[in-house]
């Protein structure tokens, strides 16, 4: 049983709306820091659009590399939102309440950022947008639906739209609170966004139904998105990519990195907003337990991928695994990835004291995501370097260029800024959800018995 402190409704409002309604000094410092990275990233983005892909370290073999790795990484992170919100909401896990909105916001921003990568990564990005998204109806020219690159944007945009709706529906009651407590321009914005929410019985009912419906509808999308992203690779003829285990492997890997990212985000939010009353050690404990299960499942699928590779006895597949494990520079990367993604954090999470320590959870979850980034790199790049049956064109060394790292930093800055700005405008911890949780926990003393004060409708 989790520890629980009764918090009054006005206190919740004060605590959670403090940041949206008052601006501390550090906000400007953080915004300036992130703004610098985004500025540098925008310049490199412009250089890429203007000068093409010649500035990347790519070559005729490694035609997809760091940017696609980063794309898969962010799509993976985005799986946190649904994992935490929809699944935990449907299973009525109480500890989810303060975590949900942060996770959903992480989903929205990481998805939007991830989509930048493949677009920027194509040779002529403006054409990619033109051909692939607003279909050229007027000339009866259609995209080729046989290509995984058409399935991919469809799945991601479905996910993005449904997560935006999901966030918005959950946000409406909080917007009405913010509307009642703000003045001036912000008041007008909140009032418009709250869509006249007054907290009547009917409105609450509709809001609850919409939330539950959306979480149920979003679940299939949750499974499909990363499966489809994995088909970008699994549908190809490249040895090491061409594997049927990829979809479940990618999905569970996404949950692994996504839930870790939520743990990181929760730790940061707790530190900067002093939310000790809301994000308690219990939450980290629960996230830690969840992570142990998820990461071990992920390790199983990783083992399966390796096993299928060598079980086929296909010379090329074995060659790719040989390259991944034994040949430089991957022989350094491979143990490093395995250590950071599993062997260091997971045994630590088995200890209760580690799970309940914010610091430890922060560093271990960062460690997981460093490892998972390397995992995607190892999955994507080595097979391309040695994909032919003939060794003539093999390229073992692909050297990422500074601009690629800058673009990677750019994506991290965009997501951080997105979350920061969002939490400046809207409460990052859902007020109404916390209050609902408080109400549901209230007990009434009837004679000698303690019974729940409220029964769920």
């Amino acid at each position: 049983m989790q520890e629980w402190r009764e918090l009054s409704s006005p206190k919740i409002n004060d605590d959670l709306l403090k940041f949206p309604l008052h601006t501390p000094m550090w906000f400007w410092v953080a915004a300036a820091g992130l703004g610098t990275v985004i500025g540098a990233g925008t310049i490199s983005f412009a250089i890429m659009i203007g000068g093409g892909l010649q500035f990347l370290g790519y070559n005729n073999q490694a035609q997809w590399a760091v940017l696609i790795t980063n794309f898969v990484f962010w799509i993976g992170i985005s799986h946190a939102g649904v994992m935490i919100s929809a699944i935990l909401r449907l299973t009525q896990a109480e500890w989810r309440r303060p975590v949900t909105r942060g996770a959903e916001i992480l989903t929205v921003f990481s998805l939007a950022t991830a989509m930048l990568m493949p677009i920027l990564h194509s040779g002529r990005p403006w054409r990619t947008l033109y051909w692939e998204f607003p279909f050229d109806f007027s000339r009866a020219i259609w995209p080729d639906v046989r290509s995984a690159l058409v399935w991919d944007p469809s799945a991601i945009f479905t996910y993005l739209l449904s997560s935006v709706m999901f966030v918005y529906v959950a946000l409406i009651p909080d917007l009405s609170v913010a509307r009642d407590r703000s003045l001036g321009v912000m008041h007008a914005i909140y009032a418009a966004a709250a869509m006249g929410f007054q907290g009547t019985k009917r409105q609450w009912r509709l809001q609850a139904i919409a939330g539950i419906l959306l979480s149920a509808l979003i679940l299939p999308v949750f499974v499909s998105v990363h499966s489809i992203v994995s088909w970008d690779f699994a549908m190809a003829l490249v040895p090491g990519w061409h594997s049927t285990v990829f979809p479940p492997y990618f999905v569970i890997g996404a949950v692994h990195s996504g839930v870790s990212a939520v743990a990181t985000l929760m730790a940061i939010l707790r530190w900067i907003f002093h939310l000790e009353d809301y994000i308690t050690d219990d939450h980290f404990d629960s996230l830690g337990r969840l992570l142990v299960v998820v990461s071990t499942t992920w390790l199983f699928f990783f083992g399966m991928d390796f096993y299928y590779g060598i079980f086929s006895r296909d010379e090329m597949e074995i060659g790719i695994w040989n390259l991944r494990i034994f040949e430089p520079p991957y022989n350094v990367l491979f143990p490093l990835f395995l250590l950071t993604a599993y062997l260091i954090p997971v045994p630590l999470w088995l200890f209760r004291n580690v799970r309940r320590s914010v610091k430890w959870m922060f560093w271990t979850s960062i460690c997981v995501n460093v490892g998972m980034w390397m995992e995607r790199y190892i999955l994507i790049v080595p097979p391309l370097s040695n994909k032919q049956a003939f060794p003539f064109s093999w390229v073992t060394v692909y050297q990422p260029q500074p601009i690629e790292w800058l673009l990677v930093a750019f994506t991290f800055a965009i997501v951080s800024t997105g979350i920061l700005v969002f939490s400046k405008i809207f409460p990052i911890i859902p007020l109404f959800d916390i209050k609902e949780g408080q109400t549901l926990r209230r007990v009434v003393q009837v004679g000698r018995r303690t019974v729940p004060g409220v029964v769920r409708d």
Binding site: G52, N59, N60, W131, F392
Partner: protein
């Protein structure tokens, strides 16, 4: 308007008079690179500098793969000219999201440069690695500007290019055919690489012409398809090396020993 949407995407869906192909005799190839140079000149391919090769960004529509065999001093060089195989069942075609790659009715795998957006998925999916991305804008020294071929599009930066089997020459020959009112003879039409090859290792022709030279060559026991096991049904046939003194384990890709070689002609449908 509806033409593009209704165009056949599968090989052999529409009957046509020709099915172009090439036979490359590995035994005759001396690795002189004349085909590579001829291709550069014919198809407006920019010059490759040492830097391009160091960065593995060389732009070559046909390349000579060189393998060393044996230990010093008994070293032998083996050469395989590799270009687009114009697969009947091409792995590059279905992965393009924008239909930039189509199969022509004459068996060619044609790249529509205007539609290509440069996702490079086809480049990843090509087991022969003959699709090259132009990482840098094409530039030629001033002295070569008058040399550029007016029949060939100069590609803009950021798309995938590859061998077209000298489509411009095929079209010119067809115009000539119509003008003169008589069918072209086998050998009248040659792509740049075949024309330049000093040992005639590269032979171009029409699979539908029963008496064409390529049909005769491909009937021999030395014929094989490169990476046949992938089921790509290439339009190019290779003739394997003949080496009487050859005892070691050859390069694995050189196909089965001659006595086991099965003749595998490209499927001529329609």
């Amino acid at each position: 308007m509806a033409d593009a949407a209704q165009a056949p995407v599968q090989s052999g869906a529409v009957d046509s008079l020709h099915k172009w192909g090439m036979v490359i005799d590995v035994d005759l190839c001396t690795g002189c690179q004349a085909c590579v140079v001829a291709c550069q000149a014919e198809n407006n391919i920019p010059l490759n500098t040492a830097d391009h090769f160091v960065k593995h960004r060389a732009m070559e529509w046909i390349r000579i793969e060189r393998y060393w065999e044996g230990e010093f001093p008994n070293v032998k060089a083996r050469f395989i000219p590799v270009t687009c195989q114009h697969c009947g069942n091409a792995p590059c075609e279905p992965v393009c999201p924008v239909y930039a790659i189509q199969h022509s009715t004459e068996g060619l795998n044609v790249q529509t440069y205007n539609r290509c957006v440069g996702t490079r998925y086809c480049g990843n999916n090509c087991p022969y690695s003959v699709r090259v991305f132009n990482w840098e804008p094409h530039r030629w020294p001033e002295s070569l500007h008058a040399q550029l071929n007016p029949d060939v599009t100069v590609r803009t930066q950021g798309l995938i290019e590859k061998c077209s089997m000298c489509l411009q020459r095929i079209n010119r020959a067809k115009r000539e055919e119509a003008r003169q009112g008589r069918p072209m003879a086998d050998g009248d039409l040659q792509p740049a690489c075949a024309q330049a090859c000093p040992t005639s290792a590269i032979v171009f022709g029409d699979w539908k012409d029963r008496n064409s030279r390529i049909n005769r060559l491909a009937n021999g026991t030395r014929a094989y398809h490169m990476l046949d096991e992938l089921g790509t049904q290439p339009n190019l046939v290779y003739l394997k090396k003949v080496d009487p003194n050859y005892t070691g384990h050859g390069p694995e890709h050189a196909g089965a020993p001659a006595q086991h070689a099965t003749r595998s002609l490209p499927v001529i449908s329609g």
